[in-house]
């Protein structure tokens, strides 16, 4: 680092009004009063949650929003997950629990017998979504997630598949990057329909 790279900044001198401080107080009170009586600004700033909902507008917002998880189905209605454990390895919160079993279908080796996500443990970072090679696990724009017990908040495979059914009209499944393990001789069966424009 050379000398001329160093930029010496001097704080501005206090003006007489700032030295007196009292005018500054009055100035500040004017600002607070202006905000206090600006009802319209308040109404446009605050979202009164249960009555008003935030609207996720635009496909990007919907695609990027990290709400509750879902497990996708392939076009045949089978679970898309191939039980590769990539998501549970990537998960920094260790909230994904998978039990793999031998797949009854010829185009893949494994499928999950159990697939549990502890939604209370999850930090909604989206690493599982990025790790998944077949885009089977995805985060949805659905953010209202409540329950009465901790057990209730551990979502199993059926629940996650059901969320897919409920949210697929908002956010259709992406085209999976890997669709074939060579088991069908290049004849992939797991190709989703191209994304259709959808509205929230």
């Amino acid at each position: 680092m050379r000398d001329e790279d160093v930029l010496i900044l001097k704080e501005p001198e206090l003006t007489p009004a700032e030295r007196l401080y009292l005018p500054q107080i009055l100035d500040g009170m004017r600002t607070t009063l202006r905000h206090m009586f600006n009802v319209r600004r308040r109404q446009s700033t605050v979202c009164q949650y249960p009555e008003q909902r935030r609207e996720l507008t635009g496909q990007m917002r919907i695609a990027n929003y990290r709400g509750v998880h879902r497990l996708n189905k392939d076009p045949d209605g089978r679970i898309a997950c191939v039980a590769c454990f990539m998501c549970s390895s990537a998960c920094p919160a260790h909230c994904i629990h998978i039990e793999a079993g031998e797949s009854p279908w010829p185009d893949r080796e494994k499928y999950p017998i159990r697939f549990d996500i502890d939604e209370l443990r999850c930090i909604y970072c989206g690493m599982c979504e990025e790790a998944c090679p077949v885009d089977a696990i995805e985060l949805t724009p659905h953010y209202e997630l409540v329950g009465c017990s901790r057990e209730e908040m551990i979502f199993d495979k059926e629940k996650l598949l059901q969320i897919y059914e409920e949210t697929k009209h908002i956010k259709p499944r992406k085209n999976p990057p890997i669709t074939d393990y060579g088991l069908t001789g290049g004849q992939s069966r797991d190709v989703a329909q191209p994304n259709v424009e959808s509205k929230l």
């Binding site: 206090l14 700032e18 030295r19 007196l20 401080y21 500040g28 206090m36 308040r42 700033t45 605050v46």
Partner: protein
């Protein structure tokens, strides 16, 4: 899956008409009971002693409810200045929020940490609250009253709990005791942050009692009395509120009142960004709530004191005489002694107090907290010299016999204010100086040698 019954109760409470009619019904019942049992409590009203007790009970009720409402108002003001709505879920416009808060505080677990100094730990919140409520004893809420069924020559009753000769001196003394609660809480909690909070409160109180005393001395020189009812009577009679005669003294009292109540910008003892929670870090549930109530009760006391000293107490408007005769004799006109006028005067007094509390809140949500050295410099280099100057000039005026002339004292105040502001503007180190503008601190050389 909220229970639909709860939802129904909630929406019922949020209906303003339900609240309004419930309030009206309660008020009607209260009035009916008061009218029906009138012969029973009539003798209570007639003697000054029992009437004072009654005033005490009623005002205690009003003030404790007032503090609860103050907390709601504070949250609302805070929210509004920050473009939010504040509490608006419990009841219409969040009006039942204080009840919800109170219930929450009552039901919370009351933790006493293991290593606290138990007696002092338990004493501290009690002391804070009791002391802040003590001040109400001498506030002259509504002047005098003479009941219509009594003969016209009966001595009128005062609506003060205690008409002390030492007057506002008592308030200053009680206010100074208030810091004991804070210091004790800081000491007894056995927590460094709480201790810092207590120490700060002590230093702050030391520094700000002085300008408060000086400003009150100025007022004593002007009025010639310490009795609050007499001071209010003078203002009502002449129409010259003392804020017009002594704006500088009012300013000093206002600033010290902020400091004494530990309110922003002087809320260093409970600076949550620096000290976790300050002196009440280790307190929970109702004990914490008592500190909270004490702060707001203190605020109301100080506002009531300022209103009595500088804003004419129950007098509705300045520059008009509301009290026509000489000191000591009660004018038997409607305005001075009837009970209807008493209620009106009480309402006026409470309105003025509420306006002051609004000012407190607005200031709190406007100005950032002072640094501790700034805080002390404001007191010792700003307020104390101004107070001494004002006291000297007022004493000279009193010697010359001009201290009752509001125009003269006003000019004197403005002159002193200008001198102080000029000095502050010219000084190389203003009271709100930045850290680097300050001279380096002489650090004592490290102690050499063996550790004992």
């Amino acid at each position: 899956m909220l229970d639909p019954t709860i939802r129904r109760i909630e929406s019922t409470l949020r209906n303003p008409w339900v609240l309004l009619s419930a309030g009206a019904v309660l008020l009607a019942i209260l009035l009916a009971v008061l009218v029906a049992t009138f012969p029973l409590y009539r003798p209570v009203l007639e003697s000054q002693f029992s009437f004072s007790l009654l005033v005490m009970a009623v005002m205690l009720f009003v003030i404790l409810n007032g503090t609860a409402l103050c907390i709601l108002a504070e949250r609302k003001v805070a929210a509004f200045t920050q473009d939010r709505f504040g509490p608006n879920r419990v009841g219409f416009w969040g009006l039942l929020q204080p009840i919800a808060d109170g219930l929450k505080f009552l039901l919370k677990e009351d933790i006493i940490p293991a290593r606290v100094d138990r007696p002092l730990y338990l004493l501290a919140p009690t002391l804070s609250l009791v002391v802040s409520l003590l001040g109400f004893a001498i506030i002259p809420w509504a002047g005098y009253v003479r009941w219509p069924w009594l003969p016209a020559d009966a001595p009128p009753l005062t609506t003060q709990v205690a008409n002390l000769n030492v007057g506002f001196l008592y308030l200053v003394a009680v206010g100074a005791v208030g810091v004991y609660g804070v210091v004790l809480a800081g000491y007894a909690s056995n927590n460094k942050y709480a201790f810092y909070g207590g120490m700060r409160a002590a230093a702050q109180m030391m520094s700000y009692e002085l300008p408060l005393g000086l400003a009150l001395l100025v007022l004593l020189l002007t009025t010639g009395t310490l009795r609050l009812d007499e001071i209010v009577r003078q203002q009502a009679a002449t129409g010259t509120w003392y804020v017009f005669a002594h704006p500088l003294a009012f300013f000093l009292v206002l600033v010290t009142a902020f400091a004494e109540t530990n309110r922003a910008p002087f809320d260093l003892p409970e600076a949550e960004q620096e000290l976790v929670g300050g002196y009440h870090t280790e307190y929970s549930a109702m004990k914490f709530a008592m500190f909270f109530l004490a702060e707001y009760a203190h605020m109301i006391t100080n506002s009531a004191l300022i209103v009595a000293l500088f804003f004419g107490g129950w007098a509705p408007l300045p520059f008009v005489s509301w009290y026509s005769e000489t000191s000591g004799v009660i004018d038997p006109t409607w305005w001075n002694v009837s009970w209807g006028a008493m209620l009106l005067k009480l309402a006026i007094y409470l309105t003025k107090v509420a306006l002051f509390i609004g000012l407190y809140m607005l200031i709190r949500w406007t100005i950032p907290r002072f640094r501790f050295d700034q805080l002390l410099r404001i007191a010792w280099q700003g307020l104390v010299p101004a107070g001494i100057g004002l006291l000297t000039v007022t004493a000279l005026l009193a010697y010359a016999g001009w201290h009752r002339n509001a125009a003269v004292t006003l000019v004197a105040n403005v002159l002193i204010l200008l001198v102080c502001l000029r000095a502050a503007a010219r000084s190389r180190r203003p009271v709100t100086a930045r850290q680097e503008d300050l001279p380096p601190i002489d650090v004592a050389p490290p102690i050499t040698g063996q550790h004992p």
